[in-house]
């Protein structure tokens, strides 16, 4: 059995604790990076991380990107989405296909 975790600013991730997710509050990039590393070591399969934190720890995200597990997924915080999660999806499309064919009509 694998666990699901959430990393991010205290106010945001506290809510996930009530749902039974493993929660690690992190206020700085270093804390977030360490939290993600520890969770990955502990065998978490899915780590949700707030977008603002995800933007700060690009290196750590990159490191786990090519591994099948864990899946590190940016989620919007309480202030709403800044679009960086969608940007990742777009980057994938561009990488795989060579051009952004899916979102062209919107962007």
């Amino acid at each position: 059995m694998h666990k699901v975790a959430a990393v991010g600013s205290r106010d945001t991730v506290l809510a996930f604790r009530a749902l039974g997710l493993e929660v690690v509050p992190a206020e700085t990039a270093a804390e977030a990076s360490r939290a993600v590393f520890n969770l990955a070591q502990a065998g978490c399969a899915v780590i949700f991380i707030t977008e603002d934190m995800a933007a700060q720890i690009g290196e750590t995200m990159e490191r786990y990107r090519t591994a099948p597990l864990p899946a590190i997924i940016p989620i919007p915080g309480a202030t709403g989405s800044d679009g960086s999660g969608m940007k990742r999806v777009r980057a994938n499309v561009e990488k795989a296909i060579g051009a952004d064919i899916l979102f062209r009509e919107e962007g």
Partner: protein
């Protein structure tokens, strides 16, 4: 295109022809692999985009509710309320294979996603907290599905890029190089043969001329 650095011999030529055959076959296979991965990827990534839009919308709303509660309630109370959850979310992670890319397959333990039981008493907490947590609980299955699909898309995108580079390298470098080298060797061998023939004829003429004299 660059000529390979090889000796122009028959041996070398048959070796290169063998390599060319392998390269052409590999190129065809990889191209098929790339096309099929592309097809699957487009389907997945569309779903990914749709799911992400949904999750982001729902999650922003639920988290906004929650932060509203944290404004109303004492921080200590709030923390205490959610400190000991009555359940833990457990997921089973299997593996699926999409065109020889290993992708995670997440299946959620139904039990851990069942009816949400509040972990706190109703006396010290605001009623908005109940709503916020219920909202979050509703998004959670979608979030997990998003996690699975997004990871799959990531891995597929990587693999497609790799495969595309291989296909292009074979198509535009390896195969032309091999063709050119084979052609070069064939020419060289023909030229040698012609040279040997003329030499023989010349010698024969010279012998005939000497015999007559």
């Amino acid at each position: 295109m660059a000529l390979m650095n090889v000796n122009p011999t028959r041996m070398e030529m048959s070796r290169l022809k063998e390599r060319l055959k392998t390269a052409v076959r590999g190129h065809k296979l990889l191209k098929d692999k790339r096309d099929e991965m592309m097809r699957r990827f487009v389907v997945l990534v569309r779903e990914n985009a749709r799911l992400r839009a949904e999750v982001e919308k729902a999650l922003s709303a639920a988290l906004a509710d929650f932060s509203l509660c944290s404004g109303i309630m004492e921080p200590e109370m709030l923390e205490e309320a959610v400190l000991y959850p009555v359940r833990t979310v457990n997921i089973a992670v299997g593996q699926a294979n999409i065109m020889s890319v290993n992708v995670p397959k997440i299946s959620v333990d139904e039990e851990s996603l069942g009816e949400i039981v509040l972990s706190y008493g109703l006396v010290q907490t605001s009623s908005q907290l109940d709503g916020a947590i219920a909202g979050l609980a509703n998004v959670l299955p979608q979030m997990l599905r998003l996690a699975e699909i997004e990871k799959t898309c990531n891995l597929l995108a990587d693999e497609i890029e790799k495969t595309r580079r291989r296909v292009n390298a074979l198509e535009y470098v390896m195969i032309p190089d091999l063709n050119e080298t084979i052609r070069f060797i064939a020419m060289k061998l023909d030229e040698n043969e012609r040279g040997a023939l003329t030499r023989l004829m010349k010698v024969k003429d010279m012998i005939a001329a000497r015999d007559q004299a």
